[in-house]
């Protein structure tokens, strides 16, 4: 199974997409795509872990809640995350986001993310079993 993330086009903003063998993996990869909107994820050192929990009514709104929880933690902790460990039980998510404090000189952050939207939002499984989780984030 292929695992990875992409960005996709949206007029003024940017779409984040994660792929994985499981829903949780697709959510982890979507989070990597979120970090990549701001900086090169490979430049984020894995020094500190933050626990995140959220829940929602369905898979899609859970993705929005997850990405918004990360946006919030990045903003108030002034951190960037380079690795994610997600566990999903029904429509409850528990995760660790691992990263470090923003270092503008090293990370050269391009833009801050204001929030995850419900535009082009999709969480689903392809015929080959591969999961995709995507939405547009406002920058």
């Amino acid at each position: 199974m292929e695992q990875g993330w992409q960005h996709f086009e949206h007029g003024a903003d940017i779409g984040v997409r994660g792929n994985g063998a499981s829903k949780a993996q697709a959510f982890e990869q979507a989070a990597m795509a979120l970090t990549a909107v701001i900086t090169d994820p490979s430049q984020v050192a894995l020094r500190q872990s933050v626990d995140i929990a959220c829940e929602a009514a369905d898979d899609e709104t859970l993705l929005v809640a997850w990405l918004n929880a990360l946006v919030y933690e990045m903003a108030v902790r002034r951190m960037l995350f380079g690795r994610f460990e997600v566990r999903i039980d029904g429509h409850r998510l528990q995760a660790s986001a691992i990263g470090e404090l923003v270092a503008p000189q090293r990370h050269r952050p391009a833009v801050e993310v204001k929030g995850a939207t419900y535009t082009a939002l999709r969480v689903g499984q392809a015929a080959n079993g591969q999961w995709v989780a995507q939405t547009v984030v406002d920058v």
Binding site: H7, Y72, A110, K114, T117, Y118, T119
Partner: protein, 476 residues
């Protein structure tokens, strides 16, 4: 965009008649060329907006419109509470009260030419900008609530400006009926270290020169002459507004079925104005407007300090401050009668025409300054609201150039260094922590701002007063 379904109603005015679930038509203000280039999604979104309960007049599209989320960016829509109207968090956007303010300096090009580099460096040093930057001002819970209630008036009370500034800000610097209690603790926490910060993305602070005057009488009333130097600040309500957008978007999505709302797009999430959630959102959104006004006031104070240090003779009175992501209760004449309407402007500027009672005395005869930020290499405009704009689009006009290219495409097309060097060769100094951020905001990624303001003028929404071109640009 396919023009075949549109009926031309005047110069740069196009109507898509109501059909299907649409309650009102879509009115688009654009030249043939802008219309052809406009993405289909902007129209599709405006059509969705036209289906919302209680919408009055039309779903309006400004010349700089493009695909947003739910509402198009560059969209205007008004709702009547008496007719079951709604308020939409998506119709205001994440960056509540994002806006532009313009400061005079009393200086001429020659005054700053020898200091241009030092000015750029000093502004970059003193204006917190970019991801992870923090302001010097920390507010405790009580001060936070005072700021959310008082807006720029609160900031002036703290010594960061003068009473004269307040005359030149929409709502006299303070949005009334704000409810700090409706703002989540997360939103307040997100703002704790962000007072007096510029942000990132398309937000900037520029030193600009007046390079053309189109309407001498209005320019004089605005205190602008050819060769004058001004400072333009573009930013919004920072983390607090972003979190309020996030919080209420979710709650409006969740509660839509309870309010009997069937939405063609989840992002159109809204609540009846006369519902607990609708009222709570209005209170929180107004608090975010105050946060944006206070933030731009603090940035103004920082700019004045930089100028006082380098150019002590300079005085920097405020020309005007406008917001272009808001929902405001306004009285408009629609269908032959006065109605109190909740006007959403998302990526659109209020543009009161001459004689409007809400304008300060010194500006009332000529109309409201409408500040249009361009991209960093191309230039900006000061327009004046036209009386005709009231019946055409509830006194609204465009807000900027509008993106023509996605960030993704821009990043693949340009390198930040190359953009900075090319602009430097043209005498424009860019200061930014992020080379990629600069590439994503490259001038070529935006529509032609001149075509946008020409269309706004031809349509009768606002008239051109002056053109401004950048000399220094600090980007987040």
């Amino acid at each position: 965009m396919d023009l075949k379904q549109l009926i031309q109603r005047g110069p740069c005015r196009w109507e898509l008649p109501a059909s299907g679930a649409m309650r009102v038509p879509v009115m688009t203000f654009a030249s043939d060329a802008l219309l052809r280039d406009m993405d289909d999604q902007a129209m599709a979104q405006a059509v969705n907006v036209a289906t919302l309960p209680g919408i009055v007049g039309a779903s309006y599209i400004m010349p700089d419109a493009h695909w947003g989320y739910g509402f198009p960016i560059g969209g205007v829509a008004a709702f009547d509470a008496d007719a079951g109207g709604v308020v939409s968090a998506g119709g205001v956007g994440f960056d509540v009260s994002c806006g532009v303010r313009c400061l005079h300096t009393g200086l001429r090009r020659d005054d700053i030419a020898p200091l241009q580099r030092r000015l750029a460096d000093s502004l970059y040093e003193h204006i917190p900008a970019g991801v992870g930057s923090t302001g010097a001002i920390r507010l405790n819970a009580q001060q936070m609530d005072a700021m959310l209630t008082g807006g720029a008036k609160w900031a002036v009370g703290r010594g960061w400006g003068t009473d004269a500034d307040l005359e030149r800000i929409e709502e006299r610097g303070q949005m009334l009926h704000a409810k700090p209690g409706a703002v989540s603790e997360q939103a307040k926490k997100r703002q704790r270290e962000e007072m007096g910060t510029l942000g990132s993305g398309n937000h900037y602070l520029e030193v600009q020169e007046v390079t053309a005057v189109y309407d001498a009488a209005t320019a004089e009333a605005y205190g602008l002459k050819l060769g004058d130097i001004v400072v333009m600040i573009h930013c919004g309500s920072r983390g607090l507004g972003h979190q309020i957008g996030t919080d209420f978007l979710r709650r409006m999505v969740e509660q839509a079925p309870r309010h009997g709302l069937t939405l063609p797009d989840r992002e159109l999430a809204c609540a009846p104005i006369r519902s607990d959630l609708g009222q709570e959102y209005l209170g929180a959104m107004r608090a975010a407007i105050n946060c944006a006004l206070a933030n731009r006031q603090i940035l103004t104070h920082l700019v004045r300090q930089v100028f006082a240090d380098l150019l002590p003779a300079a005085r920097l009175p405020l020309l005007y401050d406008v917001s272009h992501n808001t929902c405001k209760l306004e009285r408009h004449r629609v269908g032959g009668r006065e109605r109190d309407l909740y006007v959403h402007r998302k990526g659109a500027t209020r543009a009161f025409g001459p004689g409007h009672a809400d304008l300060p005395d010194a500006l009332r005869a000529v109309g409201q300054p409408v500040l249009i930020g361009g991209s960093m290499g191309t230039g900006s405009y000061v327009l004046a609201g036209e009386a005709t704009g009231e019946s055409l689009a509830l006194s609204s006009a465009c807000h900027g150039a509008g993106r023509a290219m996605s960030r993704h495409q821009a990043m693949k097309t340009w390198h930040g260094r190359q953009v900075v060097d090319e602009l430097a060769a043209r005498g424009i100094l860019i200061r930014s922590a992020s080379s990629r951020g600069v590439a994503e905001e490259a001038p070529g990624a935006y529509k032609d701002v001149t075509a946008v303001v020409d269309a706004a003028q031809a349509a009768g929404l606002a008239r051109k007063v002056t053109r401004l071109e950048p000399l220094v640009c600090v980007k987040g």
